[in-house]
């Protein structure tokens, strides 16, 4: 009885300690140089969308924030994460609204359910340009139910609309749940990391990929910044 209690206590302590010791990697993604000026998008051929924007929307390939922050960079653990095989049960949603894709970059786990919703008064035909996964495109008239699908292999997939040439988005299909997308001043945060050695990857759709190695020993917050070189054209 005593031995059993002792064993149980030791086990609980071990589990608790690994839970208690969960570190965070956080930082900023910034750029150097002068990025291309964001160009306005003329939606006059689709009046139902054009009228939803008081001022024309701009291209989202390079979105910058205050203090040289770079947004829409996917920052994720590319190796070392312990619970990578867990597929979240809830779906992620990709919205077509005002003839734009929201969010511009959508991250999901392999085999996680992806729901594509059309909130516009016009038909869209979403065409994710997958090269590793299966490439498909589907028409979606207004008022029809969401398209539900999933991707089995990790890949960064460019997404376009076959009807509206200016619509552009990205799918980031990862094998980890430890990810963030940089926002605002380029800030990102990766919490809940048990002690260990990690490789962190930062991916931008135009500026490429960078990696960094980080070691977590307890519940500290490690700072890791990424700087990308902006392209003038």
């Amino acid at each position: 009885m005593r031995a059993k209690q002792l064993l149980l206590t030791v086990l609980v302590l071990l589990v608790c300690s690994s839970l208690m010791f969960a570190g965070t990697v956080s930082g900023r993604v910034t750029y150097t140089g002068t990025p291309v000026k964001a160009k306005p998008i003329d939606m006059s051929k689709e009046p139902s969308c054009a009228k939803q924007h008081a001022t024309p929307v701009t291209t989202e390939t390079v979105v910058t924030g205050p203090n040289n922050g770079l947004e829409n960079v996917v920052v994720y653990i590319s190796s070392g994460a312990p619970d990578d095989s867990q597929v979240p049960s809830q779906a992620v949603t990709f919205e077509q609204k005002g003839c734009q894709y929201i969010p511009h970059v959508l991250v999901m786990h392999t085999n996680q359910e992806l729901k594509i919703v059309n909130d516009d008064q016009t038909s869209h035909n979403i065409h994710p340009l997958a090269k590793v996964n299966r490439e498909w495109n589907k028409s979606q008239p207004p008022g029809t139910p969401p398209i539900v699908d999933k991707y089995e292999k990790p890949e960064f997939i460019s997404v376009k609309c076959n009807v509206h040439p200016w619509m552009h988005g990205e799918f980031a299909v990862l094998t980890t749940n430890h990810y963030d997308v940089s926002k605002g001043g380029g800030d990102f945060k990766l919490p809940n990391l048990p002690p260990g050695k990690y490789t962190i990857t930062a991916w931008h759709e135009d500026y490429g990929t960078q990696t960094a190695d980080v070691t977590i020993t307890g519940n500290e917050t490690k700072e890791q910044n990424f700087t990308f070189k902006a392209k003038a054209y």
């Binding site: 006059s44 028409s139 009807v163």
Partner: protein
Amino acid sequence: MAKLFAITLVVIAIVSAIPILRHTWAAPEDISTHGALIDEQMSETMAEAGISFLAAQFILAFFVWKFSNPGPDAKIKRFPGGAKGLVIAALLVVGIEVMALGIFGVKAWANVYLTPPSADALPIQVQAGQFAFYFRYPGPDGKFGGLHPELINEGTQNIFGLDPEHDVAARDDIVTAELAIPVNKEVHLLMHSKDVGHSFFVRELRVQQDFVPGLDVSLHFTATKVGKYEIVCTQLCGLGHYNMKAYLEVMSQPDFDNWLKQQAGQ
């Protein structure tokens, strides 16, 4: 029964001619300098075809009325000259009609396609792609930058595949989704397709031109009235063909200059 059929024929022929004669569905106002000849050609064709149509229906009705229910002794009448005569007569009548229309129409065609654009026509490039029209103006340097299809990226709005990094002439090119032109000034369109067949049609301009993939098509015209007109694709090009359109804005010269400056600034 046969007489009823004959009457029905005449009634249908007259009823279908009435909206044409009354110009119930008239074409919208012509805003081009070359359109008058085209409209004339259309009217002549309609008149010739219309008269032939009515004549044919009335003659048919007459024969049905007169020669239906023949008695047992009635002889079968034959067309004078037999089958040969019939074929020759048909060739002559239809042939002359079609030739006449063709000869009268040559002038309208030549006016649009066989006269070169004037030297100071405003050049504008048009790219038709599934499912939108985009337009390019040469900018202050007056030169179009080169086209590099492998660089086309609609997500970053590089519609034409320009290479401003290495191609200086491309840096000031102005790309728009709307075709704005100054009124009373000749415009020279340089048209190509990005992918499949499309067609550029503006009713009021009396301009309709197919884009054939691989061909660079040249078209020139002058618009005579300020306003906003629809450009629609009239060659089935895929699932978004129904939605493929752009707008033509005919403006005064000062308005056009302002518009172009504004587009360049973006």
